[in-house]
Amino acid sequence: MRLYFFREAWRSFRKHSGIAYTAIFSLAATLTLCGLFLLLAHNAQVALRLIGDRREMVVYLRDDVTTEQRDALVARLAELYGGATYVSKQQAWDEFAQQVGDPQLLESVDQNPLPASLRVRLRPELLNFPAMQQAAKQVSEFPEVEDVRYGGEWVRRLDELSAMFEAGALAVGLVVALAIVFVIYNTLRLTVLARRHQVEIMSRLGATDRFIATPFVIEAVAEALVAALLALGILLGLQQAFMRQVVSVVFLSLPWVAGFVVAAMVLAWLAAMLALSRVLRAVGS
């Protein structure tokens, strides 16, 4: 019986190939646009993750802090916020010297003015502006601490950018979802109306709505699958061309690819069920 439904879906596809190809190419175009944005969002996410990894809090120590006090502070910070690395006054000067690079300028400074510090690599859950702000405030109240820096404005902007990408992806996702539903809905209406005679006969022979609808649903889901694979092929081609010509762009990861295909198929299924529930009531009296 299951084989029968697949045969019927294939028969419908062949008989109304014009409608079917129109649906596939419309869906492929929609999904390609969606995929382009996903690719952009994915690459932005990867970039933000890399930048986010470098977010750290620098805790400047008072000059009179003893080694014991410093070690206790390192342990406390590691426990509360993340692993801390000690940078001595000399190390800080060496880094500064390397960055400045001009020996004459460095010689004009009599004494090393840089304080020793602890660089705290914050835990992932603290990598956002409000959490970092609060952490900095708490750490600055420790008696051993002279000052705390964490690039607040920069972190805030990074968070805003990340939120903007997420909102954009959601908006584009919603628009594409609606487009998929619209395309499948209308394609199936056309297909069923083109086969009105058959649907009427089946209904009069006692076919249930489910029996009549199943081949149409299979056809819609298969069209969405083909369209999604076509769109992924186009995106892969674009990514390869872009990588060769312009700049390194990573392709969607496997979970994203799977999600993309499954989402297209699920949306097609939903649209098909919606269209058929309405059109069968009109046709199969």
Binding site: M1, L3, Y4, R11, K15, H197, Q198, I201, M202, S203, R204, L205, G206, A207, T208, D209, F211, R281, S285
Partner: protein, 282 residues
């Protein structure tokens, strides 16, 4: 089996059926005879729940009520075998596939079980040689026999026939009447509507006359009594002789109204006993 209790059906202002009451039992043959527009097709559409009564109650087996849910309506239709004047075959499928569709719709059989059932029905309709043909490759009579095979393939308790000979010339009409009589003789109830008194009489069942949506009486109209009883044409004789050897002895003497020059086939060959296995069916 089927009961109409004061059933009225209106299409807007037009009255199609006016407080019609009748009943048919299991295995009975009832023929509604009436002119075009008398309400015959509406009556069948009420039985199949393609339309709903404006007033009154229609009962078909255990299905009773003015408006059945879609799933129940599908279930009801699976208990019926329906034959239309215009055949209603799917032109992009072979005869075998058209008949098999009715079996698959029941959802009770796997693919391997579908084939013998279809072949059995095709053999009964005398179409086993045409199972691979498309409807467009068949004559009108063969198309109607394919539709009959589709109607009987699930062994329904009732066969509904809406002017089954309406689109057929005399010879094919005779074949179809003979086939329907044979199916009825095997035990199926038969509800047939027709405009042709000759066909109504040839069926040999109870005749109810419909006139402008009202029951006008029982039995053939007086004019038919004086009709010429048609004799079997040589062509019909030859065709019926090719029917399955187990075909029954149902009599098919069709009377035509005065002036009708047609001749319907007489007794068809003997039909198989109910439930008998067809010769040559796999």
């Amino acid at each position: 089996m089927i009961t109409f209790e004061h059933v009225t059906k209106r299409y807007g202002e037009r009255l199609a059926l006016d407080s019609v009451s009748w009943h048919m039992d299991e295995g009975e043959c009832v023929v509604f005879l009436g002119h075009s527009g008398a309400g015959k097709t509406t009556l069948l559409r009420l039985v199949t729940h393609e339309t709903h009564p404006t007033a009154g109650t229609v009962t078909v087996g255990t299905f009773r009520g003015p408006r059945l849910a879609r799933a129940k309506r599908a279930l009801l239709r699976r208990t019926l075998g329906i034959i239309y004047e215009d055949f209603r075959l799917l032109n992009d499928r072979t005869v075998f596939e058209n008949v098999a569709l009715a079996v698959r719709i029941t959802g009770r059989f796997v693919d391997a079980e579908v084939v013998p059932r279809v072949l059995y029905a095709l053999e009964e309709a005398g179409l086993q040689q045409k199972q691979g043909a498309f409807p467009s490759e068949l004559s009108a009579g063969e198309r109607q026999r394919a539709a009959i095979a589709r109607a009987i393939v699930n062994r329904p308790a009732v066969i509904l026939a809406d002017e089954p000979t309406g689109a057929l010339e005399r010879h094919s009409a005779g074949e179809v009447v003979a086939l329907l009589k044979r199916i009825h003789a095997e035990g199926a109830a038969l509800l047939l509507v027709t405009t042709r008194p000759g066909v109504a009489e040839a069926m040999g069942g109870r005749i109810l006359r419909l006139d402008d949506g009202r029951l006008a009486g029982e039995g053939a109209p007086p004019a038919t009594a004086a009709a010429t009883t048609a004799t079997v044409t040589a062509a019909a004789r030859a065709t019926l002789a090719q029917a399955p050897p187990s075909a029954g002895a149902a009599s098919t003497t069709v009377a035509e109204p005065p002036g009708g020059a047609s001749a319907m086939p007489p007794p068809g060959p003997a039909g198989p006993a109910p439930g008998a296995a067809p010769g040559g069916a796999p």
